[in-house]
Symmetry: C2
Subunit: 369 residues, 2 copies
Amino acid sequence: MTSDRPRPTSSPTISEVAAAAGVGRATVARSLGGYGSVSEPTRAHVLAVAARLGYRANSLARSMTTGVTKTLGVVLADIANPFFAGVLRGLSDTAKQEGYDLLVLSTDEKLAEEQAAVGLLLDKQVDGLVIASAATAGDDLSHLLAARERNTPLVLIDRLVSGFDADSVVINNREAAREAVTTMIAAGHTRIGFVWGPVTVQPAEDLGTMRSVIAGALWSDGERLSGYLDALLEAGIEFDTSLVTHVLKTEGQAARAVSGMLALAQPPTAFFTTETDATVGTLRALRTRGLRYPDDVSLLGFDDTPWAAVMDPPLTMVAQPMQEVGARAAEIVTGRIKGDDSDVVHDVLDARLVQRHSVQHRAARVLPL
Amino acid sequence: MTSDRPRPTSSPTISEVAAAAGVGRATVARSLGGYGSVSEPTRAHVLAVAARLGYRANSLARSMTTGVTKTLGVVLADIANPFFAGVLRGLSDTAKQEGYDLLVLSTDEKLAEEQAAVGLLLDKQVDGLVIASAATAGDDLSHLLAARERNTPLVLIDRLVSGFDADSVVINNREAAREAVTTMIAAGHTRIGFVWGPVTVQPAEDLGTMRSVIAGALWSDGERLSGYLDALLEAGIEFDTSLVTHVLKTEGQAARAVSGMLALAQPPTAFFTTETDATVGTLRALRTRGLRYPDDVSLLGFDDTPWAAVMDPPLTMVAQPMQEVGARAAEIVTGRIKGDDSDVVHDVLDARLVQRHSVQHRAARVLPL
DNA sequence: CTATCGTCTGATACCGGTATCAACTTTGAT
DNA sequence: ATCAAAGTTGATACCGGTATCAGACGATAG
């Protein structure tokens, strides 16, 4: 079944073209590369022969001498996640425009995978890196430092990494979350469930421990939770740790956690979800408990997807400019490759609260009682 | 602002390690590569020196001599499309397991982009290709033939290409569509809208022209439409060309086309949608017309996403094994690279009809009248 | 008729690995 | 003590490009 299939037949090389055209290798290189000087007749002849032979340059060999691969390394948590898929799309479009290809690796949020990925990409001599890092405070950052030491431009996306200052493109997570939660508070909600809080073995005991948990969490997660706390604090609402999940980030776990909160003596009247799957899990929990939004429970969450607008009723969501994150990151990294050595840039793109109808004024239900 | 930033500082080379260790290049290569024979003391010494210097092999140089890049080229229509994102995830996971990285390019369904992409990937000496081709009957297939001529294994995914027989992994689109439409017919529907039909400047005039349009359409599109026709034919329902869209494949166009159908003298009582965005567009049209499913109109469509299950009511959908498509494609292509020269494989994965509640029995509305 | 400049061209070093080969060392047997 | 075999090592060709350099040739000027 398996046997020695001929090795990929490489297309003709410069030497072969040279031989076929009866000229030296250098002349072919000059004709093709368009540098140096070649007499018009020979150039035309060489070009014709090259075309006839179907000559295509070997990018590997070229990169070998030029030191440029025209390839960008991209490290993401999960390509199938709509957010990252959108980011990748923006990255891809802009990179292509600039003449770069993308080598894409996913890490599933595991630091070890991220380190291996960066090593691999560096070994493959990528010209630049775009990373949504899984690193949190205190983690080993040697892979990022290695990139820096090699002088390979690197842009962080979606998450900042504490202890590593680099170009970055992120969302104003904290402010967006604060605004979103404030909206719910303004609608009269005081018990607001937060899905997904940072993953911990057991729930945080109080605000103090929660703050320290945040400090050790993934940046974007911490920021969103901080925004939630900001809104609560601002409104003088006491923080209840039992309203923040600490489970693994899967749709099923979200559903279970939400279900648990709904069984509380004083259940939440609204939920703030930080990701698409958290939203779906929350909706699922509502469904299995026979509850409806926005009448029984209000809903507001991150990542506006096409579906959100056609739900019944449509969901109020925080829309992240996903493609723009990717596009900006690509711009920055290609700029650095070109030699832009201006100060470190920290782009913060605004998420937009899309008001629809999943948040209901609490009075509507409180009064009738 | 832009200036001469030092070229990426390449990490130490084998020569440098050799010099630092006071041995020859070959000895270092042997120690690192683990081939040939090296005395234990020197090997240990070399390894230590290499580690101290932080030596990392340059994959480019290695690929240069070995002719192997451990990289797969992936050509998709649109990475942000949930279907392709899922496929890519499967592809990525399996490829990683086999030790391959992915160079990903998207074409937006444009043949010219596809040709350029394949050329680029071949130039970069990828070991294998996975392509969701945009080519339809009569198109220039030279890029695919070029891959074959170079002996670079290639697997087609999601779409077959007429006139080019190669390993492929696709879904049983026709049968899945037939089954889905039959479900609706069984529920008493006879006028079923089809969103998205093949893109044409004007609607097909009759079944005959529709058949020829199908022959020139993207394979998967044609198959789904054929499955729709099969179901109609089987049930003895006359085909009405005005129930098949011929618009560009955007959510907005879908919404407009569906809206148009609903304004027909005899509007459809059900819709079959072939893609996520077609489903969303259809839902949007319903919403703007103040109609509800499944009471006013039944719905059934391709691509089960997490959202579909939490819609109210939940949508009956055709679930494609997206990740599996990617995983299988990766298996096949890496197998070919390893030398598997068995017969061409044509994998057909089954889509699964997930029964939920967006298709209602027509009698429920007909009787009360 | 020779000097000088410019154009055109081939030869060649180089990138950083892999892999072959020949030479040298060590060991053990005769 | 001599020699063969095994073990170890360095030198080197090669992959397919890029880029430099110097030589060959032609034309123009003195």
